[in-house]
Symmetry: D2
């Protein structure tokens, strides 16, 4: 059975284009109101056909179940500066009325064995087609710049070396993931200390006047 | 009273960006399915502040009623090749579930005194902001390339000469509008005749076999 | 002999992307300096493989001569409001130092038999690749909105009906092209008359003061 | 003396738009030829007026020397996965003929006191304006994702707290910069070991056959 992939992927491509514009809008709005944006930048992509087939093969998904079983055919990624920005992004996603959240997976509290950290939100998004409305699934990954640094490089090594790392290298990638996470934690601590120091100065100045 | 225009216009800008992506999606989808696209191209803009104030002044709209009384702060324009494409575009807009149509104004059947022709659809579109959903109005103008040719040039002359045309020039612009419309009608006739000729050939071939 | 079309077309795609940004810059600059922009909008495309092969076949171009014999693999189109804007655009193109003009073809003074009007400029444009500089050819078509109206529709009819118009329909398309051109001329006359009228008013006012 | 900033910045904006397209083209080309791209992504911006004035004030640059003394009014940033990608990017920049390199500053070998690491290339880029060619300066910063992670956050803290870090926090930011750099080095080591291991396997397989 041969599938017209272009037609199959068209609503996913449309969804990715729309969601990129929508999520980037959060950043513009924060900038405009002079608030700290919990979003540093947003990227999006439709999963390449080869990767869809590969995933379907490994997860034993029959070809007519791709739409419901492969959740990340449409994929969005939101990068944050600080770990606690992630919670705020999730909060903003939950209050939206233009899609429904189906599932949340917290790989930050519960990191993967590889060392991978990110917060995944699976949504159902209505796309308007010339034949009427069509609901598709999309996955939004939310992570800090440090988590993204690690994930980008792990993905690229995995891809090039086809996942065949010797055990000793795997261990090193894991400990790198930990190092990245400690950097995130330290960044947050520094931020909080500066905020406290500033609040103290403001308070003291207030008294003197 | 001074208004923060950037903040006021932000949801309109967001809506225009989203609607451009959404309406252009109709064209991509038709191309993909090898159907004639009723949409040639789509443009969009947020009305400049000076034009909003100008319009509010002439229509005697108080400043706190801009959102409900000025319908084209967010403006989209859809260009079609043939007059009958316009009907099909309106049909596609009516079946969408991502906005509500508030009003339709048919300046094709009932052209304006100046000679202006277009089909206007006023919609209510929900924008997601960091403070929750906000419904705004937007105007979608649908017209043929010939109507757009005339309207673009009339607008540019109007703008440069501040609407101060002597009566005799006004008359000439009007008759130009008619010439443009006759071109549209002639284009449609040619298209239909070719389609008929082809249908005849196909039918005849069918009999011979 | 099978060709890697993606690799062959890559520098053309790059050139089209760069030239779109460059030519649209002319419009932004005019807007900024409050001058009439001779450019209304700019589009660009890389010729689809099927069209390249089709053209090569009809012009008897061998496959290893495509780069030098097919001049419009990279194609840009500049739309103007008024016929005399075209001359100004050509002037602006001639003074640029980021490409070399190889040839100009004036299908406005000398329209094609079909009724087609446009000004074509063939350029040599240096693209920077990872293997060094590569000079490619590109064609820039300059035309008014009315010429574009006609050309878009003629192209679409041609494409759908495979160029098989009966003689009588061909004649009608030709006379439509003439009608479009007369509209352009009339628009120009109107513009000039208004400018004269305004200049007269300004002069008279000057005397009274 | 009041300056028309929009007009002053227009060629810088044009240059940034063109250079973004040009540098992103390197990545597309590598992807197409199935080579590792030394470029992960490219961003660009025109320096905000307030930052230009601030920098001019601190560096005591008179207002008529901005064009020659402030080198980063037009700024591009190239992000790489691995430290040794940076060298390759610099090599690709040096071989281009569409701009001239004026200066290179290697803050990787010689990091700044703050801990900042990046490779800066200052170029002279010819922009085509409606008044002829104009040469402007632009700064291209090249850095790894880890260097960018640190720099983004340091910049954001600096901006929010106006550079008023207590000495102890400064020290912690510095040691974070070192941690980020060690992660880069470790990533490179892992990459090289995997490549060696693979080369060994390929060689061994060759012998057995």
């Amino acid at each position: 059975m041969s599938r017209n992939w272009d037609e199959f992927l068209a609503p996913y491509k449309q969804a990715v284009d729309e969601l990129k514009i929508k999520l980037r809008g959060i950043r513009s709005q924060c900038d405009l109101e002079n608030e700290h944006s919990p979003i540093e930048f947003v990227t999006g992509r439709v999963k390449p056909v080869a990767s869809i087939l590969d995933k379907a093969f490994h997860k034993k998904v029959p070809e007519d179940k791709l739409e419901t079983e492969i959740q990340d055919i449409a994929g969005l990624r939101i990068m944050c500066q600080f770990v606690d920005d992630i919670k705020q992004v999730v909060h903003l996603l939950r209050q939206r009325t233009d899609f429904t959240i189906l599932e949340e997976r917290d790989y930050i509290t519960n990191k993967k064995a590889s060392g991978y950290r990110s917060y995944h939100v699976v949504i159902e998004y209505p796309v308007q087609t010339i034949h009427g409305e069509k609901k598709i699934m999309a996955e939004i990954q939310i992570r800090t710049l440090a988590m993204n640094f690690w994930a980008t490089i792990e993905h690229s090594l995995n891809y090039k070396y086809n996942g065949q790392f010797p055990e000793v290298l795997k261990k090193r990638l894991e400990s790198l993931a930990e190092a990245a996470f400690h950097m995130d934690e330290e960044m947050t601590r520094i931020k909080l200390e500066i905020q406290e120091a500033q609040a103290y100065v403001v308070k003291k100045r207030g008294k003197n006047t």
